[in-house]
């Protein structure tokens, strides 16, 4: 069974409950803040994982995002959707991290550190899934940060141009052109991959086994 996506239902959740949680967390109620963490850790973790590419960094970034969120509770404007605010903080944090590590070289072979879907899938399915997963992460990793972000927000969070613009603090037309450019880059890297693919695919499928 395919695990469910980070969909609008999860993000949009019950607005009133959320407002109450934010109010209580502001007043110093730790349990209320834990409720917010519970509600948003999956979207934040997924964003961080897609942006950063490793489970370890995704966890660190998720923790940092919630610490920032806690410190900035007083600045939250109830007019804004809570999910947009949370995703904005997470996005900016991920971009910061990527900029900081830009000097550090990461070869593609080092990238995939198991952050696998938790679903109890059949082993063959798992292998296929892992391959897709790796393909996605490698393709995302070829994009510059700001392009990667719009792609993740579009495909994983299904945000509209306007919502993305609000989250990123830019305009809808900037989002539109970034998405367009990101797609061109992805198409190019997809073409490159399929040119190299046949041999790589086979090697990956039979790890440690020599071909007859």
């Amino acid at each position: 069974m395919m695990p469910s996506r980070v969909d609008r239902g999860l993000l949009g959740a019950t607005m009133e409950d959320e407002c109450v949680l934010v109010e209580r967390a502001r007043a110093g109620d730790r349990e209320a803040f834990a409720g917010l963490v519970q509600a948003y850790q999956t979207p934040v973790y997924n964003l961080a994982y897609r942006m950063l590419g490793t489970a370890g960094e995704a966890e660190e970034a998720t923790q940092e995002t919630f610490l920032r969120l806690y410190r900035r509770l007083d600045t939250y404007d109830a007019q804004q959707k809570l999910s947009s605010w949370v995703l904005a903080i997470a996005s900016h944090h991920c971009i910061d991290r990527l900029r900081r590590r830009r000097t550090v070289h990461l070869s593609l072979d080092e990238v995939p550190e198991a952050a696998m879907p938790s679903a109890d899938e059949a082993p063959e399915h798992g292998l296929l899934q892992r391959e897709r997963e790796q393909e996605m992460q490698e393709m995302l990793a070829t994009l510059p940060e700001s392009y990667r972000l719009v792609i993740v927000l579009r495909y994983w969070y299904d945000l509209s141009y306007e919502e993305m613009a609000q989250t990123l603090g830019s305009s809808a037309s900037a989002v539109k052109s970034r998405l367009h450019r990101a797609r061109e880059l992805l198409a190019a890297s997809l073409a490159r991959r399929s040119a190299e693919q046949p041999t790589r695919r086979l090697e990956r499928r039979l790890p440690g086994h020599a071909l007859p």
Partner: protein, 186 residues
């Protein structure tokens, strides 16, 4: 229509933001332009790859690890609500103090009446007045409670009105209780 513009349309189409007529033009172009057809196919492939991506479960115990890093001391409460809490405390204390001095003031009145410095009728009126004022004070408190409940957030405004009313009632009451003494002296 040239290809670069149509590429923008392709992006809009994938995001469901391309009007129907434009979409027809786009499809017509894709049918005859192999370059754009190739691009369109890749973009759809990418969409299919990402759309099928599963949600990853965060590692177990993440919430606990995050909460462990959240400072244990309480956050600074919102200034307005803290002030309101202090005001409420003062108001309740003031009310209790007023209640505490009622018996002694009543006793004083009784002494004055007993000493027959005042005519008996006046002493009776005085006591009635005392009770009347307590009723007025109670009504003021009920009014305050209703106000506080009906106006959602301005706790502070409600408190200020409450304190003003309570003080005014108390002052009036004290003045009435103390007035007879000079009258008796005369």
């Amino acid at each position: 229509m040239r290809c670069p513009e149509l590429r923008e349309w392709m992006s809009l189409a994938l995001d469901g933001r391309l009007p129907a007529e434009a979409r027809c033009l786009l499809e017509a172009h894709i049918a005859v332009c192999p370059d754009c057809a190739w691009e369109w196919e890749r973009w759809q492939e990418i969409g299919a790859l990402f759309d099928g991506a599963p949600t990853l479960e965060p590692p177990a115990g993440l919430t606990e690890r995050i909460m462990a890093r959240i400072p244990a001391r309480p956050r600074r409460g919102a200034p307005a609500s803290r002030l309101a809490a202090v005001a409420l405390g003062l108001a309740v204390l003031g009310d209790l103090a007023a209640l505490a001095i009622v018996p002694s003031l009543a006793a004083a009145c009784a002494t004055v009446a007993a000493s027959q410095v005042l005519p008996g009728a006046l002493a009776v009126l005085l006591r009635l007045g005392l009770h009347l004022l307590r009723v007025v004070a109670a009504l003021a408190e009920v009014g305050w409670a209703l106000l506080w409940a009906s106006v959602r957030s301005p706790v502070l405004g409600g408190m200020i009105i409450y304190i003003a009313v309570a003080l005014a009632v108390l002052a009036a009451w004290v003045r009435v209780v103390l007035q007879p003494a000079p009258a008796a002296a005369g």
